[in-house]
Symmetry: C2
Subunit: 124 residues, 2 copies
């Protein structure tokens, strides 16, 4: 979820029952992230960091913010990639996993192949 | 996720390891839905049904589809609503829960109060 400074971020940080991380700058990815840990999923709040942030275009198209992508944890990221590729999905970039926000390998899949939805795969 | 006929829908339905529902027309909500049950969450695929579908405007803005909303399960939907209202969030419609796709009470919160994200609450 791309988020500047909104009600959700501010209020969530007040909560004593939900685990909310400190803002974590990730200069190599051009974003600052906050993770909100729920019992069965995580919400990732994203804010552009620096010039040429990869989410700058998204915010230009969605000035109020919005849901940027969804992430699925997978047991074997290369096997998942190859299965999706064989089904016709396009993998972004050079197709090789990169280290993501949790220090784990991640890949992104082309939104045009998933109903306009940017899909991230992360090694569980 | 708003989805016409895409790779994801078609391929997921082939999977023998993932529970994918049959398309379920919901004329009263103006959508046809498919649920993909994952171990810790559900993906809801939405397709407009009939004239004046509530997702028609979304598809007009996002012809390729996209992520339409996120849904949080809550233990007490009126208590959750009141807490969010007291924090400044706006509840859509008349503010009273309606019966959603799972036959459970649901509410929607104003995207402008959640970084451009349409948020649904559903009674767990």
């Amino acid at each position: 979820m791309v988020c500047g400074s909104c009600l959700w971020w501010n209020r969530s940080a007040d909560s004593s029952t939900t685990e909310v991380s400190e803002p974590l700058p990730q200069p190599e990815h051009g974003v600052t992230v906050v993770f909100v840990a729920l019992p069965n999923t995580k919400i990732e709040l994203l804010e552009p960091l620096g010039d040429g942030s990869p989410i700058a275009a998204f915010l230009a198209r969605n000035p109020a913010g919005g849901i940027h992508h969804i992430c699925y944890e997978v047991e074997d990221i290369r096997s998942a990639r190859d299965r999706l590729k064989s089904a016709g999905a396009r993998v972004l970039g050079d197709g090789e996993p990169k280290v993501g926000a949790h220090g784990k390998p991640v890949l992104f899949l082309h939104p045009k192949d998933f109903c306009g939805t940017l899909v991230e795969l992360e090694l569980a």
